[in-house]
Structure formats: C-alpha cells, structure tokens
Amino acid sequence: MFENLSNKLETIFKRLRGYGRLNEDNIREALREVRIALLEADVNLNVVKEFIEKIRARAVGQDVMSSLTPGQQVIKIVYEELAAILGSTGSKIVFSARPPTIIMMAGLQGSGKTTTSAKLARMLLKDGQKPLLVAADVYRPAAIEQLNILGKELGIPVFNGNGTADPVEICRGALTDAKENGCRSIIVDTAGRLHIDEDMMRELKNIKGEIKPHEILLVADAMTGQDAVNLAKSFNEQLGIDGIVLTKMDGDARGGAALSIRSVTGKPIKFIGLGEKLDQLEPFYPDRAASRILGMGDVLSLIEKAQDSFNEDAAKKMQKKFREDSFSLADFREHLMQIKKLGPLDQILGMIPGVGKLKDKDVDESELVRIAAIIDSMTEKERNNHTIINGSRKKRIAKGSGTEVYEVNRLLKQFVQMKKMMKQFSKPGFMKRFGMPGNMLGAGRGMFPF
C-alpha cells in the first residue's frame, strides 16, 4: 500500500542530478514526499508541518556527502531528526528509593491498559520488584475478572477491592495491602475513558491524589490516527503523564501516533506492545520507530526477530548456502515455515529496505501453506535440484499437491528470485548501498537467514 519513501526520493532526485548542495528548490519536491509519507503514517498534520520546517532549515545549505545521493542525504536528515524527536533509547521505569514504586495506567477505551498492566507486572517481577496489580476498572464488564485471570496466570497478586464500587477507595486499600505484603511495586489498571469526559478525568485526578504515583503511563494504540494529539494533550494536561506505552505494534500500522504523542507531550515512549502474550512488551527504540514511520523497513527488528527464531548455527549454515548458491527447495520450505513463525511474509519483506518491489510479485503469505504442499509433493531429487523439474514433473507435482501447474511455475520463479536476492543480501556491504546510518544496519552482522 505504501510505496517506499526512499524509492520515491531517488526518483525525484534522478531528475535533479548534479546537485552538490541541497537548497530550497531542489528539496521542495522531496519534502512534499516526506510530508505525504508522514501523513500516511498517521502523524498529526500540525506535527508534520512543524517537522517539515525543521527539516527544511537543517537541509538547506548542506553539502551532499560524496557517498550519498541527494535523496539518501534527505532521508538521512529526516531519519535522524525523527529519531531525535522520538527520544532516547529504552527509557526505563525509575524505581522509587522508598518502595513500593507506584505506577498508574491511563488511556482511552480499548487501548490495551489491562494487558499492558499485566505485561509490566511480569517485567517487574523478573526485575525482583515484587508487584501488586490493582484492578480499578469498575466500569467495563468483567474488567476486574480479566485482571484477576492474568494475575493468576503470572502468579502475581491482584487487589480488586472485593466488590468496592469506588476506584479511589480500591486504590487506597491497595496501598495498605501492598505494604502489608511487602510488595515493591504497584500497578494500577484504570478504566478506559475519553479525554473529553470530565467526570471520568476527574476520577483519574482523584486516584492520582490518593496514591501519588511515581509514574503515570499513557497507554495508546499504535493504530491511532490524527486524534492522537488531542488525547495525548488532554491526558497530559489534566493528569500529567510520565511516559507512554504504544500498543499493538505487532500489526502493520506505521505508528505515526508515536511522533504525534511525543511531540505534544514531550514525554518519553517507554515501551511497545508486540502481541497478546504477556511476554510481548519491549523497550521502545526510536531509530526503529523512525524507519517504520517512514515506511523504510525496520531492519533492526527484523534482525532481532530472526535471531529469536533461528538459532545462530542454522543461520550461518544458511548464509553459507546462499553464498555458495547451494540453497535448495528443501531449504526453502524449511525456511518458509520459519518465516511463517516470524509473521506475515509481506510484512517481513517490508522490513527490508529496497525489497518493497517484491511485494507486487505475488508473495502472498496465505500461500505459504500451499507452497509447502507443492514442495512436499516433489521427490527428494527435485527438492535438491530444482533445474530438473520439467513439464511432466510439474504436472505430477501439481496433481500431488492439489494445485495447478501455474502455481508450481510461480513457486519456482519465486524461489529463483529469492535465491538471487539472498545471494545479494549475504554479500558484505549490501546495506551500505542504501545509505542508511550505521546504527540501523546492525553493523556487519549480516544476519539474513532466509
């Protein structure tokens, strides 16, 4: 859906070859593309405008580095500025010198507060900060029960006030309970509410007054659109937040809300939610978020995801196979299945800069199962040497896998394509050509195991 910004900028600057220095004129069109990319990523319009002016001011007059094209130079500036605004890496929860550390969660309905509360509690438990979860959402049906269940799953106590209807009173009780039980941290899950609901916002202020939290975290959905600035501003002005958790980042949202929220509150984004499981809470990395917002691939995340799913030996073996061109259909199948574990194929490919193009070419993740079936219908020999697969073999394979010959053909085509691409990836220095800042490249790690 989103064309890669770097490709677009390259095209623009091709028409403007020969510029040694960026100026108002030659970056105008590029900035227009940047503006569109940011808006498509749901960055708020006013935030975009401010940002573009900043970039313009920084870019004009700069010499284009000899190693970069003007397009790459603009991207570099945009990317660096984005990452800078998004803040510093891995802001942590600051534990109080006098425990318990009290953390309060707030946000709109459905943003993911309850799940995030549980994830956070799990993290604190691991850090040796014995947590107490507090269920202060007395409104949404079964919200308390939800937290009870999650607490039980984690072996973490949940204070729910036993039917108390007043959230402030529940919180008061929780403080005493935590002290009695020697808890070192308290996480208060509050009901979702609209930032314009005055009564409900007052309730949050009352809770805050009662428990005097060390940390108030705003939980926001990564899919939030232009309204992100309104809600963030409101919560921050009325409540005073200390940090942000961006949830549902495991989808394909570009997450421009991160920039909007960060810009209007100035508060750090501390964590991102990457799934429904309770261990899927991770620190926020501004550089990754920046490239994701720009639609330029989240290389670091990809590498890390890949590292999680592939053991290093297997990855090295694979790389060797790519280099030596001995990667077979059998390997292909094995790795498709691995990829499937990583997430949707087009998303994975989208994480690699410059691979955007491949997306048009029928790589549909729902086909993975069919592809596996096709490869399963091949003989051992065919799997190890795809070049022997002729017309009659294709027919047999199609029949055996319940597919059509054109599907077998397409698979073979994709396989050859992929092989070619991977051979390139496995060459040292491949990523350099994209002119991306060094820290994005996982310098020299060259871990592209598929």
Partner: protein, 322 residues
C-alpha cells in the same frame, strides 16, 4: 435502519435525520458545543483562493480522511468550483459536503440489514483488539430484544481473559442467553453449538462474538475463516452479516484492516465505534469509496443504548465540527 425500523418509516425523513443528528451530536458534544464548525470558520473568509482549498484539504486530513483521498476530493472540488463559477465560499462548502455525501450515499441504502425470509439471522462480529466488538454485540442484542426478537449470543472469543464473562454480563443486561464453552476452547466448536441451539430452539437472531485479532496474523485469520465456514455448513446462508467493528480513533491503518478482513471473510458492513470522542472516523470515506463496504452502525458511548444506525448526513456534519 435495522430492517425492523423500516416498518415505522412513516415519519418524515427530514425529522429522522434531525433526530439522528441531534442524538449523534449530543453523544459527541460533551465539551464542544457552541463552537463554530471548522468549515464555517474557514468559509467565513469569503474569498475562494488557493489557501482556501488548502485549508479545506487540511480539514479533511485532520479528520483522518487520508492525504490521498483528501487531495482527490479537493481537486474534484476545484473543478466543480470552476465549472459552476462558484463565487461564494459557502457554495463551495455545500459542494464539498455533497461530494462526500455522494461517496457515502453510494453504499448507503445497502446499509439495511437483509433479514432472510425463512431462516434465523446470523451476525458475525469481527475486528482488531479493543475495537468495541463485545460492547457492540451487547447494544445490538438489546435493540433486537426490545423489538421482540428472540436473540442468542455466542461467546466465540475463547482467547482473551474474561471475554466470556464480559459477554455474559451483556447477555444479562440485554436479556439474551449466551452459548459458551470454557476459556481456551475451539471457537468453532462454540459456534457449532450455538447454531444447533438456534435451529433447535427457534431463535430469530444469533450474534457471534469473536476474539480481537490483528488482520496481519495469518493463523488467526484462518481461525476466523473456519468460524465462518462452520456457520455456513451448519446453517446454509449463514452468516448473513459480517460486521467489522472499527474504532473511529483509528487512522489510515483502518484501510488495511478492512482490506484484509474483507479478503479473508468478506465484510458486509462496518460498525464505527467511539464516535463520542473527538475522533471523526474520516477513514471510512476511503473504505466506502474503494472497497464498497457500507458503514451500518455507529457507537456513541458505553451504555447499552449508545448504538445508532449510520446516517451519511449527520456524519458529514460531524466531520467538519471542531
């Protein structure tokens, strides 16, 4: 316009619109009453110049219409203005509203739920996590129940903690029984049982909850397809409605949601929730235009009665309110 309502359609259409608008607005306007609408503020300028069109475009963008759609709509508007030699900015304003209305209206009459003649009516509710599926089911169940229908709910979200309990509470509130299995059970099995129950006990309507899922998760989308298949196998023609519940706060990602959910199971309509906030939900214009999927319902609050039928006109009015 949930079918049942059609019978009562004697009242003047205008009044219906007015009422809807007032209700939508009262759901919306907790802090914003008394402000001039953004559009009026701009068009108050009088002159039709480049800046004027730019401001209109920006107004659309901030309503989540999306930068491409906004620019397409505005270039059409420029042509209109030229062709009709519009001099007054309020005429251009009218023109803009009509442009958007014509997109919304293109799918609007289809918004009615099509009740089958001689079979129970099965509604499947889908959407990403936290969009408002279960709440919408509660509201919808209550509405039908009040209209004298026999309604059964199916607790098809067996994954999220306390999702079943949540639906049960909505069942109690609306007075509709809930078919459930244990947490962690196969959702298709729940749906299977629910359909058997619908057939055996003569229910008019069944509404199936499903677990929230991100549209990019292949295995979860497969699970959802299976739920749909089971429905159709056990009751030919079912599900008759597949509603995607969309949070109005969502930005451009809603398009990807609609596309992928539609590809997987075919969406018959959208329920746009949380319009009682400050978000406009403008992204549905794009979805209606490109995917031809109508918006059928809107959610304007957390209470059981906070469900409305979608009406293009008040929606467009609200789009430009600031």
């Amino acid at each position: 316009m949930l079918n049942i309502m059609n019978e009562k359609k004697g009242i003047s259409l205008f009044k219906t619109y007015r009422d809807k608008f007032e209700r939508l607005k009262s759901g919306l306007s907790k802090t914003r009453s008394g402000f001039l609408s953004g559009l009026t503020k701009i068009t108050g300028r009088g002159r039709i110049d480049e800046e004027f069109f730019e401001e209109l475009e920006e107004l659309l963008i901030t309503a989540d219409v999306g930068v491409h759609s906004a620019s397409r709509i505005i270039s059409g508007l420029r042509e209109d203005a030229k062709k009709n030699k519009l001099k007054e900015s309020k005429d251009v304003e009218q023109c803009l509203k009509e442009r958007i209305l014509s997109i919304l209206n293109s799918q609007f009459p289809i918004s009615n739920f099509q009740f089958p003649k001689d079979s129970p009516f099965v509604i499947m509710i889908i959407g990403v996590n936290g969009s408002g599926k279960t709440t919408t089911i509660g509201k919808l169940a209550s509405k039908y129940k009040k209209e004298g229908k026999k309604v059964l709910l199916a607790a098809g979200d067996t994954f999220r903690a306390a999702a079943i309990e949540q639906l049960e509470i909505w069942g109690e509130r609306s007075g509709c029984p809930v078919i459930k299995h244990q947490s962690g059970a196969d959702p298709s099995a729940v749906i299977y049982d629910a359909i058997q129950s619908v057939k055996a006990r003569g229910y008019d309507i069944m509404i199936a909850d499903t677990a929230g899922r991100l549209h990019t998760k292949v295995n979860l989308m497969e699970e959802m397809k299976k739920i749909k298949r089971i429905m159709g196998r056990e009751l030919p023609g079912a599900p008759h409605e597949i509603l995607m519940v969309l949070d109005a706060t969502t930005g451009q990602n809603a398009i990807s949601q609609a596309k992928l959910f539609n590809e997987a199971v075919g969406i018959t309509g959208i329920a746009l929730t949380k319009l009682d906030g400050t978000a406009k939900g403008g992204v549905v214009i794009n979805i209606i235009d490109e995917l031809k999927i109508p918006v059928k319902l809107i959610g304007v609050g957390e209470s059981i009665e906070d469900l409305r039928e979608f009406e293009p006109e008040p929606f467009v009015e609200a789009l430009f309110e600031r």
